[in-house]
C-alpha cells in the first residue's frame, strides 16, 4: 500500500512537471498499481553526437513496464524506437549522451558498472533480435551457445548446462536432440526459437524483442508471436516489443507506445490506442495499414522529420491536418486521458482544458 501511495505521488509530480493540469481528472485504475513494475524510464533522452551535429534520437521519454505485460513500442524507421530500446538496456555506443533515469527493479541502469550491467543482461534482462540467421555463431553448436551463456553467469558444469539448454529448447518447441547441431542446420523460425530459448534459460524478468519477428514469414511469425504470448503467461515476463508492424502490435500487446520523431507521442493500453487513438499520427498510421478489412488506401503525406535538425514544436506539425500556430512553437505537454492513456498533442490538451472549463 505504501508503495502505491508513493507511486501515485510520483505520477502526480511527473504530470505537474510535464505541464498537464488535469491530474485530478485522471481516473486512477487500481489494477494499474497492483502489478510489479519491472522497468521505468523517466525523462529519458538519448543524443548521438556525430561530427557535425547532434541527433536527438529520443527525447523526454517516460514509460513503465510491468510484469506479465507486453509493451509494444511502435514507429516507422528512424523514429528512435531502436535507440530507445538500446538505451533502456544501456547498450548505446560510447560517446552517446543519455540523460534521465532508468530504474530496473530498484536499480538505476545508467549508473551501473560495466560488470554489473553484464550480469544483469542475460540473467534478468534478455534480448532477442531481428534476423535470427546471423545471430548465432556459425562455428559453435547450439549446445556450446548454452554452455557459454550459462557459464558466463554461474559456475556450472558443461553437462548441467547442456541439460538446461535441452530443457529450454524443449520449452520453445525445438527437439532437444538437435542440441549438437550447428546453426546453419536450422531454418529461420527454428533459429528464432533457439534465440528465445537462449534468452529464457535464466528465466529473466524482462524480455526485449527488437523486431524479432520482422524477417519471418507470416505463418512462422504467427507461431513465434503465439510462443511469446504463452511464455509471458508461463514465466510472468515483462516484454518490451519494438516493432514497426501494427498487426504484430495488436496481436500480442497489453500496452502500446507510439513513437514519432524521437518522442513517445501516445501511449496507453492496446485497446485505447487502437480503438480511441488521440494523436493524429496514431490515427494516420492506423489508417495507412492495409489489413484484411481495408477497402480504401489512405496515407500520411509528407516525410518524417530529420532527427538531426528537429522542428521546434511538435514533430508531427508539418504533416498534421489539425495543426495550429502553437504546434509549430512548442512541444505539446502530456495530456492524460485515463490512468494509462497519455498523449502529447496541443489539440487534445486544449480540448481537455475546454472540457474542464465547461464543468
Amino acid at each position: 500500500m505504501n508503495v502505491e501511495a508513493v507511486k501515485i505521488e510520483a505520477v502526480k509530480a511527473e504530470a505537474v512537471k510535464a505541464g498537464a493540469r488535469n491530474v485530478e481528472a485522471a481516473t486512477v485504475e487500481p489494477s494499474e498499481f497492483g502489478k510489479e513494475t519491472v522497468l521505468s524510464a523517466r525523462n529519458l533522452s538519448t543524443y548521438y553526437r556525430t561530427k557535425r551535429r547532434v541527433v536527438k534520437a529520443c527525447e523526454a521519454v517516460n514509460l513503465d513496464l510491468y510484469r506479465g505485460e507486453v509493451y509494444s513500442l511502435v514507429g516507422e524507421s528512424a523514429c528512435g524506437k531502436s535507440t530507445l530500446g538500446a538505451t533502456l538496456m544501456n547498450l548505446v555506443p560510447d560517446g552517446t549522451e543519455v540523460t534521465g533515469e532508468i530504474v530496473f527493479r530498484g536499480r538505476n541502469v545508467l549508473t551501473l558498472s560495466k560488470e554489473e550491467l553484464r550480469r544483469l543482461r542475460g540473467t534478468e534482462i534478455a534480448l532477442i533480435f531481428q534476423d535470427p540467421m546471423t545471430r548465432l555463431d556459425p562455428l559453435m553448436t547450439i549446445e556450446k551457445h548454452f554452455v557459454e551463456a550459462l557459464q558466463s553467469h554461474e559456475p556450472i558444469s558443461r553437462r548441467e548446462a547442456a541439460l538446461r539448454g535441452a530443457r529450454a529448447l524443449d520449452a520453445v518447441g525445438v527437439p532437444p536432440s538437435r542440441l549438437r547441431d550447428y546453426p546453419h542446420q536450422f531454418s529461420g523460425g527454428m533459429r528464432q526459437r533457439i534465440m528465445i530459448a537462449l534468452a529464457l534459460v535464466f528465466e529473466p524478468v524482462l524480455l526485449v524483442s527488437d523486431e524479432a519477428t520482422t524477417s519471418l514469414d507470416v505463418v512462422v511469425q504467427a507461431q513465434i508471436l503465439h510462443l511469446m504470448r504463452s511464455l509471458k503467461d508461463r514465466y510472468g515476463l515483462a516484454i518490451l516489443n519494438i516493432t514497426h508492424d501494427l498487426g504484430v502490435v495488436a496481436e500480442i500487446s497489453d500496452k502500446v507506445g507510439v513513437m514519432y520523431g524521437g518522442h513517445v507521442v501516445e501511449q496507453g493500453t492496446a485497446l485505447e490506442v487502437f480503438h480511441r487513438p488521440a494523436h493524429p499520427y496514431t490515427g494516420g498510421l492506423l489508417n495507412s495499414v492495409v489489413h484484411m478489412g481495408t477497402t480504401q488506401l489512405s496515407w500520411i503525406d509528407g516525410m518524417p522529420p530529420d532527427l538531426g535538425s528537429p522542428p521546434p514544436g511538435c514533430p508531427y506539425a508539418d504533416r498534421c491536418d489539425l495543426e495550429s500556430a502553437e504546434c509549430h512553437r512548442s512541444f505539446p505537454p502530456e495530456s492524460r486521458l485515463s490512468a494509462t492513456h497519455r498523449v502529447h498533442c496541443h489539440r487534445v490538451a486544449a480540448g481537455l482544458a475546454q472540457g474542464r472549463d465547461a464543468q
Binding site: R121, G122, L127, D131, Y182
Partner: protein, 343 residues
C-alpha cells in the same frame, strides 16, 4: 530448411582436393616451361654467353634436347617432373634433385622458424590491438605493421647484421653452422632436429644461434602483415550480429573476443596464412642471400646468375610443388574449422 548434415568422409574430401590440385600443378609447370624455354629465345646461347661459337652452342642444344620440337620438349618435361626427375644441372652435371634436397631442408628450417615467430608475434599484436581498438596500443600495432612492411627485408637483414652481429657481436653474421664443429648427422636435414636426435646440446645451441637472425628477420617481416590480418578480421567478427547477441546475453568480454572473435577470424586468417607462405618463400630468397644461408632461394639466385637453366627449372618446380601442398593443407584446415564447408 536446412536438413541435418550428413556426415561425409573427410578422407574423400582430401582425395578430391588432391585431384583438384592437378590442374593447378599442371598450369604452374606449364608456366615454368614457358618462362624458361619459350620466352628467352635460345637458352643454350644464353648459358654459354656471347662469345661461344656456333658449333659449341649447337652441341649444347643437341645435348639438352633443345633442337626437338617445343611440344615434345614440353611433354618430356611434364613427364619427367611427374616421375620425380627434375633434370640435370648444366653447371654441376648432376641431377638437380641431388643438389636441391639438402638445400631444401635448410630453407624449410628457416621458413618453419620464421613462420613460428610470425604466428606468435602476429597473433599477439593482432589480438592485442583489436581488443584495444582506437587506443595508443592499437596505433602502436598499426605502426608496427606499416614499419615491418616498409623495411625491405634484405635491408633489415643487413642492418641487423651490422647491429647484432658486428656491433654487439651476439650472433654470427652469416652462414648456417660454424666451421669449428661438424654439423649434426643428416637425419631430417633440419639441424635443430638432427642435433636433438644426436643428443648434442652444443650443436643445438650453435644451429639455433645461426638460425636466430635470419629466422627473426623473416618472421618479423611476415608478422606485421599477419598482425594486420588478424586485427582486421577480428574487428570484423567482433562487429557481427552473433557477437552482439552474445554480449547482450551477458557473455564475458574476454570470451566474446576469443571464442567468437578469434575463432571466426581464423577462417580467413588461415587462408591468408597460405598466401603468406608464398610471401615467406619470396622473402626467404632475399633473407638467404643476405645471410648466406645455404638454402634453395640463394641457390636459385646463383643458378639464375650463372644461367644454369635446367637447374633453375628444377628449383622453380620444387617451389611450385611447395605452394600446391600448402594450398591443400590450408583447405583441409579450413574444412576442419568451419562446419559449414561441405565436403
Amino acid at each position: 530448411m536446412a536438413g541435418r548434415g550428413k556426415p561425409s568422409s573427410l578422407l574423400n574430401y582430401i582425395v578430391l582436393r588432391l585431384l583438384l590440385t592437378l590442374p593447378m600443378l599442371f598450369i604452374l609447370l606449364t608456366l615454368v616451361f614457358v618462362l624458361l624455354r619459350v620466352a628467352p629465345g635460345d637458352p643454350a646461347a644464353a648459358m654459354l654467353g656471347a662469345h661461344a661459337s656456333v658449333e659449341v652452342i649447337d652441341e649444347l642444344r643437341e645435348r639438352m634436347g633443345l633442337n626437338r620440337p617445343l611440344v615434345v620438349q614440353y611433354f618430356d618435361f611434364i613427364g619427367d617432373t611427374l616421375r620425380g626427375d627434375l633434370g640435370k644441372s648444366f653447371r654441376f652435371e648432376v641431377p638437380v634433385w641431388d643438389l636441391v634436397k639438402h638445400r631444401l631442408t635448410a630453407t624449410l628450417e628457416l621458413v618453419f622458424f620464421a613462420f613460428l615467430i610470425a604466428v606468435v608475434i602476429g597473433l599477439a599484436v593482432g589480438i592485442f590491438s583489436a581488443n584495444r581498438r582506437g587506443t595508443v596500443w592499437d596505433l602502436g600495432g598499426n605502426v608496427y605493421g606499416i614499419l615491418t612492411y616498409a623495411f625491405p627485408i634484405f635491408w633489415l637483414g643487413i642492418m641487423c647484421q651490422l647491429f647484432f652481429a658486428v656491433k654487439l657481436g651476439w650472433l654470427p653474421t652469416s652462414g648456417r653452422f660454424t666451421g669449428f664443429l661438424s654439423p649434426p648427422a643428416m637425419h631430417t636435414g633440419l639441424y635443430v632436429v638432427d642435433s636433438l636426435i644426436e643428443g648434442r646440446f652444443d650443436k643445438l645451441v650453435t644451429s639455433l644461434r645461426y638460425l636466430a637472425l635470419p629466422a627473426s628477420v623473416l618472421g618479423v617481416y611476415i608478422s606485421g602483415i599477419f598482425a594486420r590480418m588478424v586485427r582486421t578480421n577480428m574487428l570484423q567478427t567482433l562487429k557481427s550480429d552473433y557477437v552482439q547477441a552474445a554480449r547482450a546475453r551477458g557473455v564475458k568480454e574476454r570470451w566474446v573476443s576469443l571464442r567468437h572473435g578469434l575463432k571466426n577470424a581464423l577462417v580467413p586468417v588461415v587462408t591468408v596464412l597460405g598466401l603468406q607462405f608464398a610471401l615467406l618463400l619470396g622473402g626467404a630468397v632475399l633473407t638467404e642471400t643476405t645471410f648466406s644461408w645455404p638454402g634453395l632461394g640463394s641457390f636459385l639466385v646463383g643458378r639464375l646468375l650463372e644461367r644454369d637453366y635446367p637447374a633453375v627449372q628444377g628449383i622453380v618446380t620444387v617451389f611450385a610443388l611447395g605452394v600446391v601442398i600448402m594450398s591443400i593443407v590450408i583447405d583441409i584446415v579450413n574444412a576442419l574449422i568451419d562446419p559449414r564447408i561441405r565436403y
